[in-house]
Symmetry: C2
Subunit: 248 residues, 2 copies
Amino acid sequence: MSQSYFLILMDLKNFLENGNEFVLPNLSIDIVIIGYSAEELKCLLLQIDDKWLLPGGFILKGESVEDAVKRVLKERTSLQDTHFKFLEVFGDKDRRFKEMWKEFYQKSGLSWTDDCWLNSRFITLAYYALVNIEKTFPALNETDQAFDWFSFDKLPNMWMDHRSIALTARNRLKEDMKQEQITFNLLPAEFTMPQLHQLHQTILEEKLDRSRFQKKMLSTNLFERLPEQHQDSPGRNPYHYRIKAKNY
Amino acid sequence: MSQSYFLILMDLKNFLENGNEFVLPNLSIDIVIIGYSAEELKCLLLQIDDKWLLPGGFILKGESVEDAVKRVLKERTSLQDTHFKFLEVFGDKDRRFKEMWKEFYQKSGLSWTDDCWLNSRFITLAYYALVNIEKTFPALNETDQAFDWFSFDKLPNMWMDHRSIALTARNRLKEDMKQEQITFNLLPAEFTMPQLHQLHQTILEEKLDRSRFQKKMLSTNLFERLPEQHQDSPGRNPYHYRIKAKNY
DNA sequence: ACAAAAGTGTTCAGCCTACACCCATGG
DNA sequence: CCATGGGTGTAGGCTGAACACTTTTGT
């Protein structure tokens, strides 16, 4: 399912004109979808005109906020059961896209006025999600021209406050990973300790002692060592691990 | 200023009928206002009919979310510069007050229908605030019959999910105080270490070593010891402290 | 056998814990 | 001068930091 459910049900013109009948007004959801590849933390962005923005959406009138986030995530990444977490409310008093939607209205033969529902003030509920970048197949909807993964160090020009939302998520991840074991969501289901070690160093932007890191990770008892196999690189090959099934 | 600014500008009938013209729809703010007295953590609640609810309000159309929280806090407690923090989004799909407002509509000669704006689904942005209970002078507005402070262990019957919001705040406080020094907001401007010690024990619901507690607190360098004075109790009298002015 | 990379062990310092001891004051 | 309660010191244990050593495998 690579298309947006929302836009399957209504074409662009109908969405621009009547979307407000189906979603809660003045409220949006934005998700900082974080991946990891080539020893860099990356963020999934969508292009509209010459700027980029976070994947996001709206809350349907009969839908819980949580379900809306899950739906948007699934629409955008085709992933189910993605790890996600609330980030922050962005609620400035005149927070609106202004010119972004203008072109779409004009293309669709609609007039762009101050009272277009998409031109109103939006409070956004920002979330962040951790995904395995290899298993993530982003989907475009009718308004997006492209998607791409950007290193947090080289974010492009972005719409509105989306850059600061993305960077807030990057910093939050640093804090959260000290409290809970969540980083494995960024790796394949089977991974090695050296991989996890490098990932932590990348996120924290500092060197971590190899010995201590390994002992700390294994002492959590969350990791299950797999029978040694995979011999493909010079030198000793690391064990592979996966996350133990939770004991309910 | 002990009255609600919002209800100064419009009387109850007008608010029930036309409030939606001034505030963002489907969105509310609720604040768990936490105080401390008699070695108990307490929560400020307002009474409507036979149930209680959290102090809350709405976001004015030209107002940031942050400003709305500050306004509601000031309206309800007459306090300025209160410590507050975001708690959680409560966004269930059919989250509404149902019968709560019915009586007010009928009293005001308005018909209570399914499409009353106050009967619609509300997503609430929940915050918690820490206040000095002695300096807090709660204010009622036209819809509230009473206010009272309730121990979190003996919360009364509450509207909708407000009980679970309150308890979420109580638990969050436990977590947050381990990370940042915030608890002094619950005490007078000048307090003693034994007081702070007892407060921490109350919040965490566990015994804390006196010696270690004192050393840990003083090692943060956030506390300023005042010249010894106040002699009123038997035994040695504790030093008084206040929070150092922040060094900007 | 050697280099490279992974895994494990050892030592030391610092912090947390529990408890003992010292101080100030009122009766 | 003793009871009460506040303030400070100290010995033991645990945890984290730095680094050394061992293991595995390709060349």
